[in-house]
Amino acid sequence: MQPWSRTQMAGRVAVDIPEGWYCNLGIGMPTLIADYIPQGREVVLHSENGILGMGPAPEKGSEDAWLINAGKQPVTLHPGGSYFHHADSFAMIRGGHIDLCVLGAFEVASNGDIANWATSENDSAPAVGGAMDLAAGAKRVWVMMEHTTKDGRPKLVERCSYPLTAMRAVTRVYTNLAVLDVTEAGFAVRDLAPEVTMEHLRSVTAAPLADAREAVA
């Protein structure tokens, strides 16, 4: 069994993003996707602190303290990029103008519910940031995450146990083991990492899985 590495997962997501899409890549693992968008394909990256056309991290030594992304890391601006204030930035998100948002998650349920902001009902001061706006507002929400927690518990479940970020928001999940669509009937497996079997995937998933892989030629 050869699970995908984080960079392989990022590459796997990146090839599925068509030219012309406006995308918001969540803090953490999804940020890696930016480095794997195929050369020559124009995908416009949005950062919720008011940037469209965000470029890669600058060379060391040429960081600009005025130009940071939502994770507060220095970034650059592509030609054609723009700046705007927070209400406009979230109008892009909440108004359904962002084609795709890729988020990390603690749990995704088979009906598309996502939990990614608080790990317990008792965590009284969790940090939500823009997660609820993105999950509820983007045209499509994909999740990129490990298939299980560090101690091996499934993160794909029938019903989220952590506090929800949004209901029925997620349409696709990329893990280190598989690519899955969220359908009306639940999770449908589109692709498996090398040498991962459906049987193994079922053993680390707490929800039914349909096998929707295209027949191997």
Partner: protein, 226 residues
Amino acid sequence: MIDKIVRDMAAAMEGVRDGSTVLIGGFGAAGQPDDLIDGLIEQGAKDLTVVANNAGSGRTGLARLMELGRVRKIICSFPRSAGSVVFEDLYKAGKLELEIVPQGTLAERMRAAGAGVPAFFTPTAAGTKLAQGKETREFNGRPHVMELALPGDVALVEAWEADRWGNLTYRRSGRNFNPVMAMAATLTIVQAQNIVELGEIEGERVVTPGIFVNRVVNVRRGAPWA
């Protein structure tokens, strides 16, 4: 002659009252009006409700204002971040009230206040614990949460250029919450890196029109990391 440029920080902060709701711009260090926060510390107003995206970091600026016991409540989207030690200590000790608001709802609540919209419905947070206790209504087959406008008594804003009418520009991602906060407050106080002649910011370049601005103080502090 209209001249919103004040001579010093004391004049900028004059009349800020105890119990005020203070909107503080910035996202990370970019566009954060640190000198105005220091001015507010000096000025002495207390029992404040602060609205900001983050709950301060380190022991300066907003964190210092909180550590001095001057903040009763903070309304923000992301209280815990690297170095938010003062927030965590005060919050654990029960000395600080906290209201968590999704970042886009936070911006929109202030935009609504500035635009005279008392409340609005949004799908953000529907079905989550941040919607508990709020009116929910269905539109287009989808649940929406009613959110109230969030006006400020005072806004503290950092701008790049300002003229004597209070027209403003911002620098790159330093814009963030500053323009919506400027329009949402009764008294908008600006620290501007550059004061320019009226007309130097051409109409097309004005980001915040002076109508939203009351006072401007010149603070040439350089880059946010400097």
